[in-house]
Symmetry: C2
Subunit: 187 residues, 2 copies
């Protein structure tokens, strides 16, 4: 699926690692899952595990990848308002909602892999930056643009979503708040 030069046995082990990690991350808090746990659950040695994934975070990012890529395609070429064709404010609100859904479904993976400052280094973040940047331009907002892009992505931090959900807010309430934000900022 990723490397074609990959040997058959290696590919099988990669799949087992990902499957085992997915299950572990589903079952318990990310920070309690050790590399050794994943190796054992996958029936693989630590050396093998480290050969491919240098850290727990890298595994979580690999698991998230598919879901994030699907969203990226929608943003580029999907139907409006997620894809091109709708007014910027509406597109931003829809984007917010889509990420919210993603966090609701796969938040545990995001918390395992894209926490804190690491988040800014991922490919997904770069893509989202470009997306929001283009929406700002489309809305005719030039002032403070460079900083605004990141400021508008900050509310999507996985930790924040988790905190708000734990504080009793529903997924709907959070998405609604983000909608208000989107509409007011992109006027």
């Amino acid at each position: 699926m990723r490397e074609q030069g990959e040997r058959a046995d290696a590919a099988k082990n990669r799949a087992r690692v990902l499957a085992a990690a997915a299950e572990l991350f589903r079952d318990r808090p990310a920070e309690t899952v050790t590399m050794e746990d994943i190796a054992r659950a996958a029936g693989v040695g630590k050396g093998t595990l480290y050969r491919r994934y240098p850290s727990r975070e890298a595994i979580a990012v690999a698991l998230l990848d598919d879901h994030e890529r699907a969203l990226q395609e929608q943003l580029i070429a999907g139907p409006p308002p997620l894809g091109p064709g709708a007014p910027p404010a509406e597109r931003l609100a829809t984007f917010y909602r889509a990420v919210t859904d993603l966090l609701e479904q796969h938040g545990h993976l995001a918390l395992a892999g894209e926490t804190g400052a690491r988040r800014f280094g991922t490919g997904a973040y770069g893509f989202w930056r470009a997306h929001v940047g283009s929406l700002l331009t489309a809305a005719g907002i030039a002032e403070g643009r460079a900083a605004l892009v990141d400021l508008l992505l900050a509310p999507l931090a996985p930790e924040l979503y988790r905190y708000q959900r734990d504080a009793g807010l529903s997924s709907r309430q959070i998405a609604d708040g983000l909608t208000v934000l989107a509409e007011r900022v992109l006027a």
Copy 2:
């Protein structure tokens, strides 16, 4: 300074610990400073250190405390636009700028202590929540209020500030972006 029942030698050691930690945090990245480093630099044993501070984070929070309290007083009783009396949008923008300044000066401490999800548990965060909540009310924004409070505080995450600064944005640019945000959201 904190406990009056504290023995003289204990108080001296507390001061030494805080001074040593402040210096270490200033000199190198927070995550490379170990509890053992702090103990050694303070000329104190690990047991003594742990007696007062359960973690590196707790020490950083203690060091930040003074600065944050000063801001809190300004917000409650200081002159406008930071304190009461100015229109909500202006007060939010000023608040944003004040926190930005704080991050510029003491960001290393914030990164050492109030990173990720831990941030939401601090007293300062609770206070800021209340502040922004009251500004939302004053601005007549009821829709999505519960979630909006946290969403408007998200851009102040220490990791984000550091990331933006490292990406080449000036403190000024970030503050300007925040000002645009404040003015647009609180109309």
